[in-house]
């Protein structure tokens, strides 16, 4: 079976020109050759520290940011080559939900307008029918139909996030890109929204690209996960495998730094050495070598090749 989403060699560099009288151009390699694929109905996690390029990947897949190189295929169709009508149809099949529920809704639109507008634009429904569909979607995300005539500022962060999810569902997508969907919410509300997303995934057979820095959330929600470091995927595999026995030293470090809710299971936390280097000036060879406890000469010389081990893989000489 062909994967629903296939990303191959995705590259996005940002250039910044600054300075006077002699401007200096810096290139930030936000995404530097990222490849992965997502199957229908599968939840695929992208984890990493802030600045590792995971949100850029999410946006580049939808072409909210134009990638510089690489291919993105959705159900076999080339997303990067799509124009006009074809792009609109592709975007209808994949949608995004955002981190900040306070900026994701237009403050001057009622919830009803926000939910019926996509239906009108894509000619899915209009008038009474659109309103009924909007009410049904609100019900599906656990909101009352009375919300239709109200404005975003009347709702809490969690409620707004539900409305944002409902809006993404208006066009009946097959893939949802969730960019840190719960990290701006209170922990109690996080759980509710995650349960809602899980519920929608099962009911609608939705595939997810789930971007998060919270390993606990990814462990619970996702089937497979990719660990990103400075614009590249350093390890990929089944969530349980990656988090119980990480192959890459960076993945292990992330795993160890993530809190364990059981005091008995808590070991001595290994200290994380150093800071994440700037993506504008990544270290030579393996980007992780200045922080790696197992660094070898080979790591400084060249970026390690991708090594497979069954269903998983990592870019490290130790594998």
């Amino acid at each position: 079976m062909t994967p629903l989403l296939e990303v191959d060699g995705l590259v996005k560099h940002f250039t910044v020109t600054k300075g006077f009288p002699r401007p200096v151009t810096t290139t930030v390699r936000a995404v530097d050759g990222v490849s992965f694929s997502v199957r229908r109905g599968e939840a695929y996690g992208l984890v990493g520290e802030s600045g590792c390029g995971k949100s850029t990947v999410a946006r580049a897949v939808l072409r909210l940011i134009e990638p510089d190189a690489g291919t993105v295929r959705f159900d076999g169709a080339d997303v990067r080559a799509a124009r006009g009508e074809a792009l609109a149809r592709l975007r209808q099949r994949m949608q995004i939900i955002f981190q900040d529920p306070y900026s994701s809704l237009n403050p001057r639109q009622t919830i009803g307008q926000a939910l019926t507008e996509p239906m009108r634009v894509h000619r899915l429904a209009s008038g009474r029918a659109a309103r009924d569909r909007a009410a049904a979607l609100l019900d599906e995300v656990g909101m009352p139909p009375s919300a239709l005539d109200r404005y975003p500022h009347e709702f809490s962060g969690g409620q707004r996030q539900r409305i944002g999810i409902a809006r993404a569902l208006t066009v009946e997508p097959e893939l949802l890109i969730a960019d840190e969907p719960v990290s701006a919410l209170d922990v109690s509300v996080q759980a509710q929204v995650l349960l809602l997303l899980r519920d929608l995934q099962k009911r609608r057979n939705l595939a997810f690209v789930f971007v998060s820095h919270d390993l606990g959330v990814v462990r619970w929600f996702c089937d497979r996960v990719a660990v990103m470091y400075l614009g590249r995927i350093v390890e990929e595999g089944e969530v349980s495998a990656v988090f119980t026995e990480p192959l890459h030293p960076y993945a292990r470090m992330l795993r160890d730094a993530s809190p364990v809710p059981d005091p008995v299971g808590r070991g001595a936390l290994p200290r994380i050495v150093g800071e994440i280097p700037s993506a504008a000036n990544p270290p030579s060879g393996c980007h992780f070598h200045p922080r790696c406890p197992h660094v070898q000469d080979a790591c400084r010389a060249a970026y390690p090749s991708w090594r497979r081990r069954g269903e998983r893989g990592a870019a490290c000489v130790l594998v």
């Binding site: 995004i96 994701s104 403050p107 009622t110 634009v121 139909p145 009375s146 005539d149 809006r167 208006t170």
Partner: protein
């Protein structure tokens, strides 16, 4: 509508409604509104309110001081000053209203599109606007009227042109902030056109700021119109305009001071009223107060 009637407990309380309430609660704003409404009404109703024809000359009553027959006196040609002020208000209001309306539409569109497109296009457009801004508005108006000739339409063009650049700047700034918000990105992901995002989603969010500046700039436009008329580049005589009346009155400032003083007071009251309304609008739509 039916759902609203069925659930009156969930009536939306829009931010707009709170802003309107706050706007009306301010006493200064009230005075401003009353001033503007009175002046607008007196201008609209000039044909019925004026005791005399504004251009009819009464040679016997030249330069007569305020009296029962001529409440604000007469000018050098024996024309009734009160009637001329009432009729002159029409010119002031029509010129400033249409000039500012044109500036809001043209300048606002330029600023919104420039900010939304961004990049080099934005830099270029804003530099052109900066060049326009660098001319004092009176000088720019003077050049335009001098080139095109003094008449009502050219006056509107001249004053409108001076206000385009400020409105482009005012419209652009919030667009820069808004286009970073997730709802704009969501719109693109949902397949909305750029025009839809710009006019359906961004425009309603910047409209209040632009309209507030509009009311403040109305006052500036009234002054510019009066200044241009004062230096003889306004609407041609004998049509009465406030600035033109002040200029004519200046020639007799010592023996008939009412000729310059009364149109001056009219300009003062209108500018004051417009500024009060503008300040009230600005306070009422202040985002810092709105986010309560």
């Amino acid at each position: 509508m039916t759902t609203r009637a069925a659930a009156p407990a969930f009536m939306p309380v829009a931010p707009l409604r709170r802003a309107v309430a706050r706007f009306l609660a301010n006493p200064t704003t009230g005075i401003g509104i009353i001033l503007c409404v009175l002046i607008a009404l007196s201008a609209i109703l000039a044909p019925w309110l004026s005791p005399h024809d504004p251009i009819e000359q009464d040679v016997i009553a030249q330069l007569s001081p305020p009296s029962a027959r001529h409440p604000l006196g007469t000018d050098y040609f024996g024309r009734d000053v009160l009637s001329r002020i009432l009729w002159g208000g029409r010119i002031s209001l029509i010129v400033s209203l249409s000039a500012i309306a044109a500036a809001i539409v043209i300048g606002g569109a330029i600023g919104m599109i420039s900010g939304y497109v961004g990049g080099r296009f934005d830099t270029f457009v804003m530099q052109v606007m900066d060049v326009l801004l660098s001319f004092p508005s009176l000088i720019l108006g003077l050049v335009v009227v001098a080139l095109l000739g003094p008449d009502l339409v050219n006056l509107v063009v001249a004053i409108g042109l001076t206000a385009i650049a400020p409105f482009a700047r005012i419209a652009r700034a919030p667009v820069l902030a808004l286009k970073q918000r997730a709802f704009v990105e969501a719109g693109r992901a949902l397949g909305y056109s750029h025009a839809r995002i710009l006019f359906v989603h961004i425009l309603p969010n910047i409209l209040s700021e632009v309209l507030v500046m509009g009311s403040l700039w109305m006052a500036t436009a009234v002054r510019t119109e009066a200044s241009l008329s004062f230096i003889g580049l306004g609407v041609k005589p004998p049509t009465p305009t406030w600035g033109g009346m002040m200029r004519d009155g200046f020639e007799n400032i010592l023996d008939a001071p009412w000729l310059a003083i009364f149109p001056g007071i009219a300009i003062l009251l209108l500018v004051l009223g417009l500024n009060m309304v503008g300040d009230g609008l600005r306070d009422a739509t202040d985002p810092k107060l709105r986010a309560e």
